[in-house]
């Protein structure tokens, strides 16, 4: 037994391990600091009231909360399920069939991901409300759109763009050789779809379902505007903060809300772990070949077309309403033209708008990088506790945004972590709020990349750093684009947490939008919404063009080599 030698070699291994995994260790530390710590602060605050330990807040979660939790669950489950079904259909149309308007559909999907708060639900009311332009004025109906159905419809519409992009990404990355092989083996087109394409896109669909489900659970904005008398737990938590300032009870409710999320998270992890089918192509085929398209039976083709076009129609009508809201007064169903709303756009609104763009851009880039590295660390690197980290990283999407804002105040109000009142706390909140999106996009893309490529690089002596820089990140460029677009768009329209973090004179566009809506000034709200939509489109398109351009040139390079 040569003890000293053993110790040297041990510490040597440990040290080199740490050095090699430094980047993941940093990422994990960030996740713990900016997600877990604020949530712990909230929990602590809910059981330690006025200097005393108490479980009052939790014993207040009576029968009523359970009923609300049930409502939340039903809304989330229905809207996520419908959204995934419709998204899959649209994704099939875009990636696998011969059809028109595909570019247009992609643009519409990108646009509809930008859903400014309140304005979208209000435009729904303008069109389909009790006095809606379409339902009442045009069709003479007197229907009540509020309640369960209204919420499910609005949430489904909100989920579809993101869910579709996830599914498209999954379908695009299927190795076309597999399709060719099954055709050569005599498979007909329908069973090709059923037994090859859908199973192989399962991970994308699962990610889409999971994200939609948890977003829906924690969404309070839609139910509060069109819920009518139908309440969900997230709304209740929201009014406990904004109405009665009972933070402990709101925290308890949000923690209660985590139960269904946790259950689905476990199912999701389990499913993601099995049935791994890898593509042997190092790069995704972004351009489809004519012969790769499926030739489905006519009936199915028409259904696919119908669903896709119907969704596009709904989106176009919705955005036309928001667009025209800037210069048309809809009040009381009387439609008239006006330019008076533009007078209200002052320098305070413009500078808040500028701030929104800055915050969203930084969040988009930092969030995507952190999220993708995290996805890699969790899915490929054998670091202990990775499932726990993955769960923690998903938490921000599971809790209502308001509470995540309060959590940041509680966590970062004391030195050495004194951040309240700075712009940094706003940006950090935006980055980590959106981590689940980028890490799921990364995980989804990784599930299609054969680990042998990385193993080969490792065998050739690549360090983790070079592996990431030269192999993984370039391969994950599509995931990077997806998550940048996602995070940028989400941050541009986020409001829940920010109202608690911005300082006077340093607010963001959505705060201005919300106050316009509160004052009943839908026109000003629409102008701000349109500015947000337009900017987001421009930034998203140029960013994805830039990265795709680089990516393709890189890809060509690989082949030339």
């Amino acid at each position: 037994m040569n003890k000293s030698l053993a110790r040297v070699s041990n510490s040597d291994t440990l040290l080199s391990k740490i050095k090699d995994n430094l980047i993941f260790i940093i990422i994990y530390a960030l996740i713990l600091l900016f997600i877990l710590w604020p949530i712990i602060a909230v929990v602590f605050n809910s059981i330690y009231v006025d200097g005393k330990f108490t479980l009052d807040a939790y014993s207040d979660l009576t029968f009523k909360s359970t009923k609300l939790l049930y409502n939340s669950f039903i809304v989330a489950f229905s809207s996520a399920t419908i959204a995934v079904v419709i998204s899959t259909i649209i994704a099939i149309y875009v990636t696998l069939t011969k059809g028109h308007l595909k570019k247009f559909i992609m643009v519409i999907l990108l646009v509809s991901m930008i859903s400014p708060p309140y304005v979208d639900s209000l435009s729904f009311i303008i069109l389909f409300g009790k006095r809606g332009l379409i339902t009442h004025k045009l069709l003479g109906l007197n229907i009540n759109p509020y309640g369960f159905m209204g919420i499910v419809i609005m949430e489904t519409l909100a989920h579809i763009p993101r869910a579709t992009l996830f599914t498209i990404m999954a379908m695009e990355s299927i190795d076309k050789n597999i399709i060719h092989a099954s055709r050569d083996l005599g498979s007909d087109e329908l069973s090709l779809l059923r037994s090859i394409i859908l199973p192989m896109s399962k991970h994308g669909m699962l990610s889409a379902f999971f994200i939609s489900f948890v977003t829906s659970l924690s969404d309070f904005g839609t139910p509060i505007v069109i819920g009518g008398g139908f309440n969900v737990l997230a709304t209740e938590a929201y009014v406990n903060i904004t109405g009665v300032s009972n933070i402990p009870l709101a925290s308890a409710m949000s923690i209660y809300l985590l139960i269904p999320s946790l259950v689905f998270f476990l199912i999701y992890r389990k499913q993601m772990a099995k049935d791994q089918v890898f593509s042997y192509q190092a790069t995704n085929l972004l351009e489809q070949e004519e012969e790769d398209y499926l030739n489905l039976p006519n009936g199915i083709k028409y259904v696919i077309k119908l669903v896709t076009y119907f969704f596009m129609l709904v989106v176009v009508v919705k955005y036309l309403t928001i667009f025209s809201g800037s210069f048309i007064s809809f009040n009381g169903g009387n439609v008239s033209f006006t330019l008076k709303y533009f007078d209200k756009i002052d320098s305070a609104k413009l500078s808040s708008f500028k701030r929104s763009i800055q915050y969203s851009f930084v969040s988009g880039i930092a969030g995507s990088v952190i999220g993708i590295l995290l996805a890699y660390g969790i899915n490929r690197n054998k670091i202990p506790g990775k499932n726990f980290i993955d769960f923690v990283a998903t938490l921000p999407y599971m809790m209502p945004g308001t509470l995540f804002g309060i959590a940041y105040i509680l966590a970062f109000k004391n030195p050495p972590l004194l951040l309240i009142g700075t712009s940094a706390i706003v940006i950090l909140n935006c980055i980590f709020k959106q981590i689940p999106i980028s890490s799921k996009a990364g995980a989804q893309a990784l599930s299609k990349i054969n680990p042998e490529i990385e193993n080969a690089a490792k065998d050739c002596g690549a360090s983790n750093f070079h592996l990431l820089k030269d192999i993984v990140l370039p391969l994950l460029t599509p995931a990077f684009i997806t998550s940048f677009i996602n995070i940028f768009s989400s941050t541009m329209v986020t409001i829940g947490a920010l109202i608690f973090l911005v300082s006077p004179g340093k607010d963001v566009a959505t705060v201005q939008l919300f106050s316009a809506i509160k004052e009943g000034n839908l026109g000003v709200g629409c102008i701000l919404a349109n500015m947000i939509i337009l900017t987001t489109i421009i930034v998203n398109l140029s960013m994805s063009a830039l990265l795709k351009g680089k990516f393709r040139r890189g890809e060509a390079d690989v082949y030339r080599d």
Binding site: G228, G332, Q512
Partner: protein, 340 residues
């Protein structure tokens, strides 16, 4: 080419880091500058115009954040020790009372406050009412005509079964206005009669919205006939050009005040005090009456034009401090008897 991609990725990371630190830097520089700028959290209409006038009168610059009083209270409770801003301007008196109790406000009795009745201000000077918010009904005439309903003029009219599902009132748990109406009716009519009335009224109310602004918005849009709502110049202006009647109930007008207060530990204490003095002064009161017309708390200020018809004798003689004390109790009963 690979190098190019890696450089791109690396530069993006650097860029994001740089922008992060830029954000922090600029904010700390701003903090230094802001020593001269008064920071206000506010929930009141046309605040931009009011602050502009204050700046003209005193030369003090104002930066503000539009945020509801419930949100201010939550934020203040969460960041206890660090003030949310210098001044809290407008919003429900409930929030101010709770904040005073939690020791979040600075006591300041302005010279000008002697012109304001004790009914409208905290006795320890933690907050001072700066305008009176009256309540009433916003009625959509189109719906009334279409459905052949009589125009309601009193609280007691609203229990008529003919109005079933045509009345909205915000949930009093979140709406200071709703709570003020309920507690005022209890003080005016006595417990028994008031609860009986509320239970009858409940039969006509399809649900209690979780946003205070929802009932009047829905009444203006014609989605319901009647909204129980705060009824001040701001609300009346929203209905301008529409076929809407604003009803101040004949059997009594419940009211509350919108206060102004200074946060404990405000960075710009002197400027904050100057602001409170200005708000309560004659010229400040005139400015507020002009941009956000309400019944003034000072008797030497003229009642704004839009509210000229309001019969001041109909304002209920209620004790808002008692209402504040009874809040938990009354809401407890409401939640048990009426909430659905």
């Amino acid at each position: 080419m690979k190098k190019f991609i890696s450089m791109l990725v690396a530069s993006l990371m650097l860029l994001s880091l740089a922008s992060c630190s830029n954000g922090t830097n600029s904010s700390s520089i701003d903090n230094a500058n802001q020593k001269k700028t008064l920071k206000i959290v506010a929930a009141i209409g046309n605040k931009e115009d009011i602050f502009k006038q204050f700046q003209n009168d005193t030369g003090i610059e104002v930066e503000f954040l539009d945020i509801s009083s419930g949100e201010v209270l939550s934020r203040a409770l969460a960041q206890k020790g660090t003030p949310v801003a210098d001044v809290w301007f407008g919003g429900g008196a409930d929030g101010f009372m709770a904040a005073a109790k939690e020791d979040l406000l600075e006591s300041y009795v302005s010279e000008e406050a002697k012109n304001i009745s004790d009914k409208y201000k905290d006795k320890d000077g933690y907050w001072t009412g700066m305008s009176i918010v009256t309540t009433g009904f916003v009625v959509n005439n189109d719906v009334i005509e279409e459905k052949n309903l009589p125009m309601p003029t009193k609280w007691t009219d609203l229990t008529n079964p003919i109005y079933k599902d045509e009345i909205l009132m915000p949930n009093p748990n979140i709406s200071g206005t709703s709570y003020c109406i309920i507690s005022s009716l209890i003080q005016e009519w006595g417990e028994e009669k008031a609860w009986e009335y509320l239970e009858e009224l409940d039969k006509n109310i399809p649900y209690y919205p979780q946003r205070g602004g929802e009932p009047p918005q829905k009444a203006l849009a014609g989605e319901v006939a009647i909204a129980i709502s705060p009824l001040d110049g701001e609300q009346i202006a929203k209905g301008e050009g529409l076929n809407v009647t604003n009803v101040f109930p004949e059997d009594g007008i419940p009211w509350t005040v919108a206060p102004v207060a200074i946060f404990k530990g405000a960075e710009n204490m002197d400027a904050a005090k100057q602001f409170v003095d200005w708000v309560l002064s004659k010229s400040g009161q005139e400015t507020i009456a002009k941009f956000c017309p309400r019944i003034p708390v000072r008797e030497d200020i003229e009642i704004p034009e839009v509210l000229k018809d309001v019969d001041l004798n109909k304002l209920l003689d209620v004790d808002m401090f008692k209402a504040g004390e009874d809040r938990d109790n009354i809401l407890g009963i409401w939640n048990e008897k009426i909430a659905k």
